[in-house]
């Protein structure tokens, strides 16, 4: 039973986290503008998140300490606080994108403008965080989020020339209509959308809360590998559908209704319905995860009681942080910023913030005091270090690229 729970956590983290508003928007835009030429970025991001989620889960299992606890200890209170501030802000911008995604899902169903659905999204999120048993929510998100496989079905039904798809994926070449800077900029945003930092905060805190022990190490590995690889399949097929439908017709992706056209074009109403359910579940799941993450990181930095399994009364400040985050997020959605533009920017900032969280994880995963014999092996360390360097390069390049390309236009 507990094993099943552990694996659910991984799959939910990836459905709500890996494939969320950020990925839905970015994969659509990427496919429409760059075809299959940026699929390698998804592969890169998947390996990175799999390696680091497994480490974070292992640390949480053996040391009973979630990621942000480790961050403060290793970075010290000053850099820890800087990371807290940055992560909190990135989470809030991400939350804006996710809440907008939930509201837009309602808009696409009813035709009523999404602004009016923001309060409903807010109340729904609050209610679930406040009252609903978490396992129940995890299962609902996990199972209904599977409808996003509609992209895989749609891609298969489009009968693409697979050898050409493979060729474009493995030997990527930037389309001549796009500049190299835009190519790299969208690549950075796509990378950020796949490995937004909140996924690790959520995953490791969940592992601590569910009281994983040594016997859960295997399920940790399975769930982090299987969960995120599943997320990657969704991302790649979503890029595929956009590449096959939008790119040849020169259709730009500026809103979610365009993205919804992909599955609808191939599978009709059924495709649209599956996409809308998936859109709602993934963005709603991510809304919960990001909100919880903000509660987790602030509480863990200051040493307050935290946890979704405690009653709100037993973790008052944790719950206060979550409520405040939700309110700020919903307020920003209502200021009528373009939700797709906000999502793009959130994902770039997500990429900027990664090294400050990933570095302490790699250090502690090597600490034999905690990890005993389950510390990182040599091969894993070499690979993880290489990816850490990649993350740092991406983080450093993100802002200059953003300015250089004027937000990728």
């Amino acid at each position: 039973m507990k094993k099943a729970l552990a694996i659910t956590l991984g799959v939910v983290t990836s459905i709500g986290g890996f494939f969320d508003m950020g990925s839905i928007v970015l994969t659509g835009q990427t496919g429409a503008r760059f075809g299959f030429s940026l699929v390698w970025v998804v592969a890169l991001a998947t390996i990175t998140i799999v390696l680091y989620a497994e480490m974070a889960g292992r640390i949480a299992t053996l040391s009973k300490r979630p990621v942000f606890d480790v961050v403060r200890e290793r970075l010290g209170p000053g850099f820890g606080l800087a990371n807290l501030g940055a992560s909190f802000l990135i989470n809030v911008i991400t939350l804006v994108a996710e809440i907008a995604g939930v509201a837009i899902a309602f808009q696409l169903v009813t035709g009523v403008t999404y602004y009016l659905w923001v309060p409903l999204a807010l109340i729904l999120a609050f209610f679930v965080l406040w009252k609903v048993k978490f396992e129940r929510m995890e299962r609902a998100v996990g199972i209904l989020g599977l409808t996003m496989l509609v992209f895989a079905v749609a891609m298969w039904r489009l009968h693409p020339d697979w050898s050409s798809v493979l060729h474009q994926t493995l030997l990527p070449s930037k389309p001549s209509s796009e500049t190299l800077a835009s190519y790299l900029y969208v690549g950075v945003a796509l990378f950020g959308s796949a490995i937004t930092p909140y996924e690790l905060f959520f995953y490791s805190s969940g592992a601590v809360e569910e009281g994983w022990n040594k016997s859960d190490l295997l399920s940790n590995r399975i769930s982090s590998y299987a969960g995120f690889i599943f997320g990657a399949v969704l991302s790649v097929t979503a890029i595929g559908v956009a590449a096959l439908i939008f790119q040849p017709r020169h259709i730009g992706v500026h809103d979610l209704s365009t993205i919804a056209l992909g599955p609808t074009f191939v599978l009709g109403k059924l495709g649209l319905a599956a996409f809308l359910i998936g859109l709602f579940m993934t963005t709603f799941g991510a809304t919960l995860e990001v909100t919880l993450s903000n509660g987790y990181i602030v509480s863990q930095y200051f040493g307050w009681p935290w946890g979704k399994m405690l009653r709100p009364k037993q973790a008052a400040r944790f719950n206060l942080v979550m409520i405040v985050s939700l309110l700020i997020g919903a307020f920003i959605v209502l200021t009528s910023l373009d939700p797709v533009a906000v999502t793009d920017i959130a994902m770039v900032f997500a990429a900027v913030g990664l090294p400050l969280t990933y570095f302490p994880i790699l250090v502690v995963a090597n600490d034999r005091e905690y990890m005993g014999e389950s510390g990182n092996g040599k091969v894993l360390n070499v690979v993880a270090s290489v990816f850490l360097v990649v993350i740092c390069i991406i983080a450093l390049a993100a802002i200059p690229l953003m300015i250089w390309t004027k937000l990728g236009t």
Binding site: R72, G80, F302, G303, R317
Partner: protein
Amino acid sequence: MTRDIFDLDLDILDRQMLDSAGVPCGNVDDLELEFVDGPNKPPVVTKILTTPGALGPRIGGLTGRIITGIWRWFHPERDPQPVAIDWKDVVIVDFAVHLSVHREEAGLSRGEDWVRDHIIGKIPGA
């Protein structure tokens, strides 16, 4: 992690504290060392300092002053001091610093209690 030698910076500072009931009650924000056996002998850790009143000075600079300032603003006392816990109240140090005192007794539950009583506790279903 049972052992005899601790690295104060890595193993004690910034670590989660749990009270006698096992409830999180802050982090080790700073330590107080005293020359108990005279100036020629090594100093001894006598107290754990915690709450933002101890965190602010440790971070230092403008950020530190802002943290201390916010903490003083919210504190009911006019000239508040950071909470100090005697080192003899530390039971064991593993993934957390376990204390033998209750959080209320140690003065560590003020913030949590205030938010619970004035905000969260008032929302139905809490």
